[in-house]
């Protein structure tokens, strides 16, 4: 029987030749991830096993990125618990403040993700690593605890949707616009329990950061994972970051997909998801006059160097609208340094934006940019649920870094094409 790329990775990690959709398997994991919100619950569950050691000290990553630098005493207690666990269990990949970055940008950058890996993380955006040809998916804290103890997790083998990409993205249109377009098309449960596999000659024109963004938001369509085939772009990234040899899995030519969507990248427009669901999308031409109070550029979705370059290109030599609080947060220390070297941080500060240390803070309404009642933000983040960035009566509009930067200048949701260079 033919298999999709996701199914092949699962089969290999379950030590079987074949898997079929719906089959329940127990599989060996290459990496287990947790953060400062999900790990404390997992650590309590882990204690119930009554065992001292984790399955492999080199295959667990603990990243305090959500409420850090510690936003309050309770958050500090949670981080302390995680830090003590990391030291006690001799976890190799614990990232203290100073090395810490937003987990889904940090792990690939640190070389912890390889093509062909099977990865679970107690964070829903763990699906990001599909950009490098890994099967990665979000789970809860109990799954994380069990995985830290055994190195295994159970999976129901997913069926798949195929996204066949052709053409090239127009100027100012990015991977973010593509994934928002797809979520708008199939809905927030359009890929429920399924894999989203991205293929076609159009893939070659998508840079690695676009691919991270696209896989990152697979969960916003309900998907189990998002995944790209491993091509030269992925191999180049892996070669620069990961010491292991890539394990390349390819979907069989006759692999079965529940449905195939053909998308011509050249036809896409800058796209915005209106409150309060990521599938509530409109193209920039349909947005109308939406006055905003805050712009957030960053997150595990769009806090990478290409994202910052696009924002800087638009903001260079200009001032943000004085009524718009503009917050830029590079996703990792390495990206922060690179942005510094390239002069991007100077452009942001001179434009009247603030630049934050890496943190998930504002994206989930944790800290560093909370909205008051009735306020609106344009954010390059991934969710716009009720109360996501603060007050239950605030609003989040999801968009690309280009749209976010253009909107910061005008004070309204704006088309980057309309900003004069």
């Amino acid at each position: 029987m033919s298999m999709t790329m996701s199914q092949k990775i699962l089969a290999a990690h379950a030590n079987v030749d074949q898997v079929r959709p719906g089959q329940l398997i127990m599989a060996d994991l290459d990496l287990v991830l947790g953060n400062d919100i999900t790990s404390p619950v997992a650590i309590k569950e882990f204690a119930k096993f009554g065992i001292d050691a984790v399955f492999d000290t080199s295959k667990i990553a603990l990243v305090p990125d959500h409420f850090t630098p510690n936003k309050d005493i309770k958050a500090a207690q949670q981080c302390k618990m995680m830090r003590e666990f990391a030291y006690d269990k001799k976890i190799e990949h614990y990232f203290e403040i100073g090395q810490m970055g937003i987990e889904h940008a940090l792990l690939p950058e640190q070389g912890l993700v390889n093509a062909g890996d099977l990865i679970i993380g107690a964070d829903s955006h763990t699906c990001t690593y599909g950009a490098l040809g890994a099967f990665s998916t979000g789970v809860g804290s109990t799954d994380m605890a069990a995985a830290m103890a055994t190195g295994k997790a159970w999976f129901k083998v997913p069926s798949a949707l195929c996204f066949n990409l052709t053409g090239k993205l127009p100027p100012w249109v990015s991977g973010k616009d593509l994934i928002l377009h797809i979520i708008g098309m199939i809905g927030v449960d359009g890929a429920l329990y399924k894999s989203m596999e991205f293929t076609g000659e159009g893939v070659a024109s998508l840079n690695i950061d676009d691919r991270f963004t696209i896989c990152n938001m697979a969960i916003e369509a309900g998907a189990k994972n998002g995944i790209f085939g491993v091509d030269g772009v992925a191999i180049a990234y892996l070669g620069a970051h990961c010491k292991r040899t890539p394990l390349v899995f390819q979907a069989d030519e006759d692999a079965e997909y529940e449905r195939t969507y053909d998308i011509d990248l050249a036809t896409l427009r800058p796209t915005v998801a209106f409150p309060h669901l990521p599938d509530n999308t409109r193209t920039i031409d349909e947005v109308g006059q939406i006055k905003i109070d805050q712009v957030v550029i960053g997150s595990c979705t769009n806090g990478r160097i290409s994202d910052l370059r696009i924002a800087a290109k638009i903001l260079k030599g200009k001032k943000v609208n004085p009524t718009v609080r503009t917050i830029v947060f590079p996703a990792t220390q390495e990206i922060y340094l690179q942005a510094m070297d390239e002069g991007l941080l100077k452009i942001f500060v001179q434009a009247g934006a603030v630049v934050s240390t890496p943190t998930c803070g504002p994206c989930l309404g944790g800290h560093m940019g909370i909205l008051a009642e009735g306020e609106r933000a344009v954010a390059t983040t991934n969710r716009n649920f009720v109360g996501r960035m603060g007050h239950p009566q605030s609003e989040v509009y999801l968009a690309s870094p280009a749209v976010a930067a253009a909107s910061a200048l005008t004070g309204y949701i704006s088309n980057p094409e309309s900003i004069e260079e």
């Binding site: 329940l24 919100i37 999900t38 949670q78 964070d123 449960d189 309900g222 649920f385």
Partner: protein
């Protein structure tokens, strides 16, 4: 095993941010989490909920974040079962892993209103609206999941099956 209580009826795409907003995630204390359960969707939930009550919601319940704090808050608030047309996959896993019973049944969701008295027989997969007398059959859990539930959750199941 049976659950019975009054129904809290909600719409589609109830996300984990409204089940337990991130501003309360600086603790993992189940009782504290439960005191804010459903706050951004239904501020009266915590005041009204009684032990054994049942949440009934439309499709894609529990979408969004992987926070296990969401099923934990619901369970600790006293909810005995969540019935939905469909569940987001991480919530589905988490609920099973922590022992919060869940049922997928679109027909039952359509036939239950806010405040109806509802009972669920888990072994048979039968849902009854005691207020109207209507009755539905839900898909029982696959054997693998039943095994996990009878072992009292994922951790205990793995202790038996994998570590031994």
């Amino acid at each position: 095993m049976k659950a019975q209580g009054k129904a809290f009826r909600y719409g589609e795409n109830v996300d984990t941010d409204v089940i337990i907003p991130a501003r309360y995630l600086n603790t993992s204390d189940a009782k504290e989490l439960a005191s804010h359960c459903m706050e951004d969707l239904d501020a009266t939930f915590v005041k009204k909920v009684q032990l054994g009550d049942i949440i009934v919601a439309e499709r894609n319940f529990g979408c969004g974040s992987s926070r296990e704090h969401a099923p934990l808050a619901i369970k600790t608030a006293g909810i005995s079962c969540v019935i939905a047309s469909s569940f987001a996959r991480i919530f589905y896993r988490n609920a099973i892993n922590i022992g919060l019973p869940i049922m997928e049944c679109e027909a039952a969701v359509a036939g239950i209103k806010m405040g109806d008295n509802v009972s669920v027989e888990f072994t048979k997969g039968v849902i009854t609206n005691e207020t109207t007398g209507e009755r539905w059959s839900a898909e029982p859990f696959p054997p693998f999941i039943q095994k996990m539930i009878s072992a009292d959750g994922l951790i205990q199941y793995l202790q038996q099956e994998v570590l031994s």
